[in-house]
Amino acid sequence: MAGKEVSIAAKALRDVKLGELGAWFGSRDMSPKGIISAICRGRDRYLNKYIYVKKGGIGGIAMILTGYVALSYVWEYDHIKHDRWRKYH
């Protein structure tokens, strides 16, 4: 569908070309209120897609838990890396 010119600020991230990424980033609302509203929107999108459905499976909550485990691992990597090849635990 050719023709309609949309401003960069109104585009969703998946429609932004790679070269326009900087301009798109600059046009977004980066105040604390904007960031928090973006996080809330993201959370609502995730919940509406995976959790608030009639027959939700284990996948929705499993993704949250896996993300939490991965984030915890990244958080304590500097602490854990000494355990790898230690001879006596």
């Binding site: 915890s72 958080w75 230690r86």
Partner: protein, 227 residues
């Protein structure tokens, strides 16, 4: 080194934020809000059923005046259960293994019940310090003992939760270390240890839920005494 087994109870700091912050904020993500849907999803129904039944269980023996505490007590219970269960996942941190964390819940809540009791019905509150039909000779000693047991309640609440969770996590780490070490030398023993580890993990899941429930049940009992 022996110190290594207690390293799991430390909070590493990454980019200036300790891990306990993430572990404390994470349960909020697992709580579902009521939606405007008429027929709610599976998870929402499950959550609301569990909350309703546990609220009923906790508050049925309490007087209607104490039902104001329902929000505080049930939210505390669901928070503790979620924290305890999330702590059983690999690489995660369990804030309830820290005594300071648990005392911050136990002490103010217990103190509130005591102050409410002393303000609204002081005679009744003091009457709890002496069980009925005690022999007269024992009365002085028993009052001292009951006062001590009253004052030690917050410490008992906090330490019970801390000790149960810390001991469980330590046992899991010890047994898994043993199994890891033995698997090359004595595979049969390692398999038996693995079975033990499986049973222990099931026990830990149960303990995680039971300890949070007991914490909250005791608080509701102290409330029942005083209100």
């Amino acid at each position: 080194m022996a110190l290594n087994f207690f390293d799991q109870f430390m909070t590493p700091i990454y980019m200036g934020i300790p891990l306990i912050t993430l572990a404390t904020l994470m349960p909020r993500l697992t709580f579902l809000q009521p939606t405007s849907q008429w027929t709610t999803s599976r998870f929402s129904t499950l959550q609301s059923q569990l909350l309703n039944s546990s609220t009923y269980q906790l508050f049925a023996p309490l007087s209607p005046k104490s039902h104001h505490w329902a929000l505080l007590i049930v939210s505390l219970m669901i928070f503790l259960i979620t924290i305890n269960l999330l702590g059983l996942l690999p690489y995660t941190f369990t804030p309830t293994t820290q005594l300071s964390f648990n005392m911050a819940f136990a002490l103010p809540a217990w103190l509130a019940t005591v102050i409410i009791g002393l303000r609204t019905q002081p005679t009744h509150a003091f009457a709890h310090l002496l069980p009925e039909s005690t022999p007269p000779l024992l009365i002085p000693i028993l009052i001292i003992i009951e006062t001590i047991s009253l004052l030690i309640r917050p410490l008992a609440l906090g330490v019970r939760l801390t000790a149960n969770l810390t001991a469980g996590h330590l046992l899991i780490q010890l047994i898994s270390t043993a199994m890891f070490t033995m698997i090359h030398t004595i595979p049969l023993m390692a398999m038996l240890t693995g079975t033990l580890l499986l049973l222990l993990s099931i026990l830990e899941i149960a303990v995680a839920m039971i300890q949070a429930y007991v914490f909250v049940l005791l608080l509701s009992l102290y409330l029942q005494e005083n209100m």
